[in-house]
């Protein structure tokens, strides 16, 4: 059944976090962070995952990497079911999948030199001999355009952009095939963002990587991704080729999300149609019945309040979950 061109496949992924209360820490409810999400990532592709805070996009990334135990569903990596693998097998798998974090200030150990930070995965996985160790670190630093002579410095001596480069070098140390980039540029300044985006793109080409690129900035996601998945409150609402999604968004949520992004050009921006959403995202503890977006949707009908929309395939890899499409 599995075609080889899919590096990662996620099938009906569900992740609930228990909400505990009282002295006995009894479970009183489920936080439905991710609820029945499916997508796949082709070899060499960048798949963008967008949505607002609390939509479950980070949780999806962590589930795919097996950093969380999932509640239900399956995850396949290179055609193999990795949903429940444990121990040595999982440890080996970790070499192939890595993570780049959002906050370059919180994700680096302040007491380690950057050489040790970048080299740690090499030691953990026993990938190099002591002799090669130093050379390998210098190589990785060059790869991310850091000067190798800075190897003995500590994280606090670096700026945000440079720290993000350190994080990228560390992720690349085990020569992974697949990297989850979780908001890798949102903590950076505009001019530094462009530098890091360019670096990520370049590395992808050079090393033949596959990314799951999680971000809330739609213009950045469009720029780097081949295909994009839009999430709302734990569900996928739309998936399409990058150009297609931005040119012909079909789900009312995607449309609103896109129109909320101002374009840095006054003439163009003035002519755009704006859809202003009202209210906030509901709590994932008590998601609305029916379509989860209906409480904020300007087009909602009775059907939307009662029945959850199925994901429809419109061909051309464009999938939408909306009754009105």
């Amino acid at each position: 059944m599995k075609t080889n061109s899919h590096l990662v496949e996620v099938k009906n992924l569900v992740k609930y976090f228990p909400l505990l209360a009282g002295v006995m820490r009894r479970k009183i409810a489920d936080i439905k962070a991710v609820d029945n999400v499916s997508f796949n990532i082709k070899q060499g592709e960048v798949l963008g995952l967008v949505g607002e805070s609390g939509c479950g996009k980070t949780t999806v990334g962590r589930c795919v990497l097996r950093l969380y135990d999932i509640t239900a569903g399956n995850i396949y990596f290179q055609g193999k079911d990795i949903t429940t693998i444990q121990g040595e097998e999982l440890r080996k798998l970790r070499r192939d999948m890595q993570l780049i974090f959002q906050d370059p200030y919180a994700s680096l150990n302040p007491r380690m030199t950057i050489g040790d930070i970048i080299g740690e995965p090499l030691q953990v996985h026993n990938l190099v001999t002591d002799k090669e160790y130093k050379r390998k670190i210098a190589e990785l630093m060059e790869l991310v355009e850091l000067e190798p002579r800075m190897v003995d410095r500590y994280p606090h001596e670096f700026s945000g952009g440079q720290r993000q480069r350190i994080g990228i070098a560390r992720a690349l140390a085990t020569r992974p095939k697949f990297i989850v980039c979780d908001e890798p540029v949102s903590a950076l300044d505009v001019s530094i963002q462009a530098q890091v985006i360019k670096l990520l793109k370049q590395l992808k080409e050079e090393l033949g990587l596959t990314y799951l690129f999680i971000a809330h900035d739609l213009s950045v996601v469009r720029y780097i991704s081949d295909r994009v998945v839009v999430m709302y409150l734990g569900k996928v609402v739309e998936t399409a080729d990058s150009e297609e999604l931005y040119d012909h968004p079909l789900h009312p949520y995607t449309q609103a999300l896109l129109s909320a992004v101002p374009i840095p050009c006054p003439e163009v921006d003035r002519q755009r149609k704006r859809i202003l959403l009202t209210g906030d995202v509901p709590s994932p503890l008590f998601p609305p019945r029916g379509c989860r977006f209906h409480t904020r949707c300007r087009l909602a009908k009775t059907e939307c309040r009662e029945r959850e929309p199925e994901i429809k395939d419109l061909g051309n890899e464009h999938l939408v979950a909306c009754h009105l499409v």
Binding site: E52, D189, S191, Q195, Y246, I263, P264, L276
Partner: protein, 336 residues
């Protein structure tokens, strides 16, 4: 006739720290007309927030101190006022909204109490009246069920709602000037759109001026009348929004605008990358163009002299020795 509400003239705010003198704001001049929406754009540590705190005279001393300049507001120099006089302006005539609403609100007081407090203090209202007024303000900023929610604590509101409360608080004394320091940085895009729309509507409704401090060039393009671009504590370019976006003349402005991916342009358009890092303001020599080390068009003059703001068009000012050549140079760079 346009009336000037605020004029910042050659403002200099320094911080005396162990490593030396940090010139956070070093010769900043700009103005805001009555009812105008002015944007102050720049990246972290360019001095944009410090310049706002200087207007409010809220620079922590030590280590910070306003060493020079004038801040003319409604005809008076704020820097010459006594602390007492300043207190009658702060929060009253000039109000401020900060980036993180959660850290600006008191977590152990109800929203009603916090709103009423400023109304009692600044407008001399009685307790009952203040609460009534507070609920009106909450309605004004679009908080549903306002009366009941007066008894809620800050944590019971979402980030967007908290920022609405901050805006309500800022508006409580009907200020002439609202300074918003990165008000939407910590919220989602759909909420950002709501908040910006709200602020802009209130501005027209009350005839306030707004100074928006931000790094988001999209938001600036959508709302601002006038844009001031800051780099290393001073302005590098200033002008009307349409001018700045259609004919930027400073290499930093050009780079900043071209380095953001745009939804309306083809995906394949390569991103422009400004090389290098922002300067260390303690070690930066004061007699050169601060942007020169990162500038693709820098010539020897740029590291020998400091360029001053020069008028290059209607209300358009640039501080660059090569401003005349910049449009042609950028075109060459883009083709490459």
């Amino acid at each position: 006739m346009v009336e000037k509400l605020l004029e910042v003239k050659n403002l200099r705010t320094y911080f005396y720290i162990r490593e030396g003198v940090l010139r956070a704001v070093d010769g900043l001049s700009y103005s805001a007309n009555k009812g105008e929406f002015v944007a102050l754009v720049g990246e972290s540590a360019c001095g944009k927030s410090v310049s706002a705190l200087s207007i409010m005279r809220l620079i922590p001393y030590p280590p910070g101190i306003i060493v020079g300049g004038e801040i003319i507001f409604e005809g008076r120099d704020l820097l010459k006022l006594s602390e007492e006089e300043m207190r009658s302006i702060r929060g009253n005539r000039i109000a401020m909204v900060f980036q993180e609403p959660m850290t600006s609100l008191n977590p152990v007081l109800t929203i009603g109490r916090q709103l009423a407090e400023s109304l009692e203090l600044h407008r001399g209202l009685m307790k009952e009246e203040a609460l009534e007024e507070a609920s009106k303000l909450l309605k004004l900023v679009g908080i549903p069920d306002a009366e009941r929610r007066l008894n809620d604590y800050p944590y019971q509101f979402s980030g967007g709602m908290q920022q609405r409360i901050m805006i309500a608080m800022a508006l409580s004394c009907n200020p002439a000037l609202l300074i918003a320091d990165e008000p939407t940085t910590s919220v989602d895009v759909t909420v950002q759109a709501q908040l910006m729309e709200l602020m802009n509507n209130l501005r027209t409704q009350f005839g306030m001026s707004v100074i928006l401090i931000t790094h988001n060039l999209g938001v600036v393009a959508r709302y601002a009348d006038r844009v001031n671009v800051m780099y290393a504590g001073r302005l590098v370019e200033s002008g009307l929004t349409d001018t700045i976006y259609s004919q930027p003349r400073h290499p930093y402005t050009v780079g900043l605008i071209a380095s953001v991916p745009r939804l309306d342009l083809p995906r394949e358009r390569p991103l422009y990358v400004i090389p290098g890092l922002p300067p260390d303001l303690v070690r930066l020599p004061t007699n050169i163009c601060a942007f020169a080390p990162r500038c693709k068009f820098a010539i020897s003059k740029c590291t020998e002299q400091k360029p001053e703001l020069e008028q290059v068009g209607t209300e358009h000012y640039v501080a660059c020795f090569r401003h005349e050549e910049v449009p042609a140079l950028t075109e060459l760079e883009c083709e490459r």
